[in-house]
Amino acid sequence: MRPLSSFGLRAALAAFVFLLAVPASLAQQPLKVGIVTFLSGPAAGPFGVPARNAAELTAESLNAGTVPAPYSQKGFGGTPIELVIIDEAGGPQKQVAEYRNLVPRVDIVIGYISSGDCLAIAPVAEEQKKLTVLFDCGTPRIFEDASYKYVFRTGPTGTMDNVSVALYLVERTPNVKSIAGLNQNYAWGQDSWADFENAMKTLKPGIEVKTSQMPKLFAGQFGAEITTLLGSGAEVIHSSMWGGDLEGLVLQGAPRGLFEKHKVVLSAGEPAINRLGTRIPDGTILGARGPFGPFAPDTDLARWLKTTYQDRYHVPPNYASFKMTQAILSVKAAYEKAKGSGNAAPDQDKIIAALENLTFEGPGGPVKMALGKGHQAIMDAAVGTTKVEGGELKIVDVARYSADKVNPPDGMKSETWIKSGLKK
């Protein structure tokens, strides 16, 4: 026992000393912004890397002062910002550990695509008293099940996506009688389907649900599911799939006539445009989790993001890119509002007070921090239909829904709101 115990002790001691030294550098000058986004795994391609690219582009442009008004001041209120980027892969437990390591090294954290990560991080942010802005994750549970001081989300929730596609669908096909679902078997897929199903039942009482297919997340192959859907006789097929699964669905479903036989609704389909282009069959209904990408309004800010991003990365920015830029700009807006005309850097509490209930201009249009006691953003929703024109994929017949029409009033849970008639 002796040699080991002394060895064990020494190893533990060495590890301890080493760990203590790691996060020691706490530079004061540039404002350090922690960015957490998927750099590996299946979510990196469609979301993680486009978001990281947008973060780098936005930070550089802010520091150079080249972002259009009202964001033309350099950095945050004149102070340059510096990014510390980490990988979101590995699950909530690993992310909580990473977050705790990150907190002493940065002034603000912006990140998180996975809803599970957001839910796990939020209470930790509260405990650590660190301003943390969630930029993408979709579950409404974050501010509906709890309330936070230090946590904000500057992107709309998943509820809005599914309510808006349901409205769009019913407006265009008022006689729709049956629906079916094909969603990934995890929280996002289950919640999206529940929201869509409930919204359709509210809008068209008596609508028939033919089948709800829930293949394993990242299964990639949907032969048997497509067969079942083709044989189901449903008029509409709803899918909230993303990434490789969504692309696989289009590649396998289109040649088998799935998109001709049924009206297919892809509630989070926008990032696939850049990957699949004209392979997406005509008449597919697409959402972009807000007025992002092709749905973005024609403003200086949106044009700036689209052109500089396209020039640098040779693809258009997708909704993940828009939402990342939006999150960074929200903090900038709050920081500068808190700083006012003074010279001193505002403390965190002042920034938080400024961000609460803030209305600011994002690359997707106006954003209101209206829910969750001023911590959860709402935005207008946009839905469109695909059409190939002149060898290019176009989004036509775009409908916009004002933010308060597709989001519950503050204090009401999304599920209750949808089931109780989508009323204001």
Partner: protein
């Protein structure tokens, strides 16, 4: 005697760590401790020559039992949660053990994997439990004493340290005696053990039970540390991580699981901090290096020292 000294020294060191170090380190230490407890259970199992690729099952059961107490039954006492975690996992292990104790080698590993994946599937399907998103838990008291905000994890670490030290001492006593030699006998040649009149089935069953209960305790500790549970805890990659930590430590010493878990957590943290784009590769290379140069785990180092001394 020596074991008691080491135990007291570890307790003092961990208490010092809990009281004095920054929050992020307290958290890391707790996670390492939680995993160490799970791996301690694996070590008991490995003494009988069996490796489970499904300890995530009990890790998850322990975590969910603790979280459900807090979230649905509003029992917010950390001590109750820890007990419930270990008890729930022990109960399930007592049941599944009846079946699994008949299995050996890769089939034991694979059947335990299958069970953990079934639980994973059930959890993912449970919308009421938040599906893959999981849910949060809060422990507000410890043995009835209210916890000051911000100090919770320091208290949990001390509680975890006590649990771990007691568990390690018990395992040390068990394996150091008759039972330990019987287990080694089952590993080396169970037919001979049976011919000598002992029941290999019983040995495997009891060791499986211990491993399950310890994994449940570890799960509850991890749940307290993270403040959140999700089905990923039962996924095969989590189980694989435990096996790796066990191999990294080696099965000779009771301390090894804890040292190995600390090193593993540190490795992963350093890899994702300094090589965010290639942390998996860094981790893989570190694993290969360890397996290449420390064939019997960290114990190899100690052995070498003893021989050179």
């Amino acid at each position: 005697m020596k074991a008691a000294i080491v135990a007291i020294a570890s307790l003092v060191a961990l208490t010092g760590l809990a009281l004095l170090s920054p929050q992020w380190l307290v958290f890391m230490a707790m996670l390492a401790l939680a995993k160490g407890v799970v791996v301690l259970g694996l070590l008991v199992l490995m003494r009988t020559g069996l490796v489970s690729f499904g300890q995530g099952l009990y890790f998850g059961i322990g975590a969910y039992a603790a979280a459900l107490l807090s979230h649905h039954l509003h029992v917010a006492d950390a001590a109750v949660m820890l007990l419930a975690g270990a008890a729930a996992a022990g109960l399930v292990a007592a049941l599944l053990g009846l079946l699994l104790a008949r299995y050996r080698d890769i089939f034991f590993a694979m059947l335990s994997l299958a069970f953990s994946m079934i639980l994973y599937g059930v959890l993912v399907k449970s919308a009421a439990l938040g599906s893959t998103d999981g849910f949060n838990l809060h422990a507000r008291t410890f043995f009835g004493v209210a916890l000051a905000s911000g100090a919770e994890r320091r208290v949990f670490l001390i509680a975890g340290a006590v649990c771990a030290v007691v568990a390690a001492l018990l395992v040390h006593r068990l394996l150091g005696g008759h039972w330990g030699r019987l287990a080694t006998g089952v590993r080396d040649n169970e037919l001979r053990v049976a011919y000598l009149g002992a029941s290999p089935y019983r040995v495997v069953y009891v060791n499986y039970l211990i491993a399950g209960a310890l994994a449940g305790l570890g799960g509850a500790l991890a749940a307290l540390a993270v403040g959140h549970v999700d089905p990923e805890m039962t996924y095969w990659t989590t189980s694989g991580e435990f096996v790796f930590i066990a191999i990294l430590g080696g099965i000779q010493s009771i301390l090894a699981p804890f040292v190995a878990a600390t090193i593993f957590e540190a490795l992963r943290m350093i890899a994702s901090q300094y090589a965010p784009n290639v942390w998996q590769m860094s981790l893989g290379l570190a694993m290969l290096t360890i397996i290449m140069f420390l064939p019997a785990g960290l114990w190899t180092l100690a052995e070498r020292r003893r021989r050179s001394a």
